[in-house]
Symmetry: C2
């Protein structure tokens, strides 16, 4: 599937997590905030580049950006609408909610490097099972920026112990889409009490000999919306990403 | 000299270009703009990451940032004050001009990788001669952001032809401080008519067998202030950088 084909299917109502779709094409987190919050969000991203790598920012009121030529209101498989920091609706078309003062931000997503992990022989469990990646709020706080603060959110992939170093090496070549893991093993040090109960997405099996490896996650921006009581915002449904026309290869470093 | 010692000397009135000072410590471009311009500047930087890599952003009214614990009004060797896009004063203490609504931005500077170039055997002519690096406005336009637009500014270093590849390889490891060259040779393709007449800094000799190599330059932000008629701003005097407490090693990638 090409990105335009995937976007057309989502526009038609298909609702699935996007991990593994359109391999080679970059997936992104969406967060659209009123212009009054845009500086704080951009600064929050600058101060927290691991979870919030900015790939693109649209103009105020725009429903597309340079790397996402579709319609941001309809062409993702799922959205969450926030009012006063509370998720008030989860739906597949946010056209009725979109406002003229919204500024759309696209942040990097770790799905971007999963293709590289697979090619390096590192299994990606949630792709094997066709489920959504598990994501967890941690006890680590991001650096604040203006009105925005909140916890670091991480995604988790179980990696065979012999392949942890490979997973680190491969993903560190993608700094624009979260890069190397922030934590390997020892979930309780991140304040995660139960790996079987992720805050977002689905739990995955951790097999004997596998280590839970944690990467910074773009849902951190939505956690900040919630923690900060942002008046209004629209984000993608976690794991249901914007599939862009940018290529993963655009974000790899030597 | 340590960064605190250098800052104390500048505060005492020393006015010199900073290339080669405090090797191993990161130097930065300063641009302080009124809060009303801060979002446009941060977005301009996001859209033009090669010339405008953001290292740090201070709070509104702050005279220091997390990596610059000195006083931004006095601890650089030189400043330029802009009104309506015009440089109206160049001086070594801007305390009388500082305003409570200014937001200080620090951008990466290519001086950061000069130490690595020297260690790799690549000569740095302006350090040899004790002059300021030559900088040029190019005919390439940056991506606009709100009220801000303007040309790409580049710094130039003559590199022996046999060492050009080394210079590329070494500097590409520093993406946060301009990274790899944007152009090698052929200055007229950049719209530079006379290398002996830089727009900022001093001309340097290009010896037989040397190729002019161009890196994106943080003065691009000040060129945008000028091209866009920004109402008020304070920048460092080109080549007279903020010496921070961050280490060059913090910005190197494998």
């Amino acid at each position: 599937m090409t990105p335009p084909e995937a976007r057309a299917r989502f526009r038609g109502g298909l609702r699935v997590p996007t991990a593994g779709l359109c391999p080679g094409w970059t997936q992104a987190n969406l967060l659209a905030v009123p212009r009054a919050y845009a500086y704080d969000l951009l600064l929050f991203a600058q101060r927290n580049p691991r979870p919030c790598p900015v790939l693109d920012v649209g103009d105020e009121g725009a429903v597309r950006t340079s790397i996402f030529p579709g319609d941001l209101r309809t062409d993702l498989p799922g959205y969450v609408v926030y009012e006063d920091g509370v998720a008030v609706a989860e739906l597949s078309d946010v056209t009725p909610f979109w406002r003229a003062d919204l500024v759309p931000f696209l942040f990097g997503c770790s799905f971007t490097f999963e293709d590289a992990l697979l090619r390096a022989g590192v299994p990606v469990r949630h792709q094997e099972t066709g489920s959504n990646v598990p994501m967890y709020r941690t006890g680590l706080l991001c650096r604040e920026a203006g009105a925005l603060s909140g916890p670091l959110v991480v995604s988790m992939r179980p990696v065979p112990a012999a392949l942890v170093a490979t997973a680190v090496r491969v993903t560190s070549r993608y700094p624009a889409v979260h890069g190397a893991p922030v934590h390997v093993g020892e979930p309780e040090q991140l304040g995660i009490r139960d790996l079987k109960a992720p805050d977002f997405g689905d739990p995955v099996e951790i097999r004997p000999g596998e280590v839970p490896v944690f990467w910074a996650c773009g849902v951190t921006t939505q956690a900040a919306v919630m923690a900060s009581g942002v008046r209004f915002a629209i984000g993608h449904a976690p794991g249901h990403m914007a599939i862009t026309d940018a290529r993963d290869a655009d974000y790899v470093v030597p």
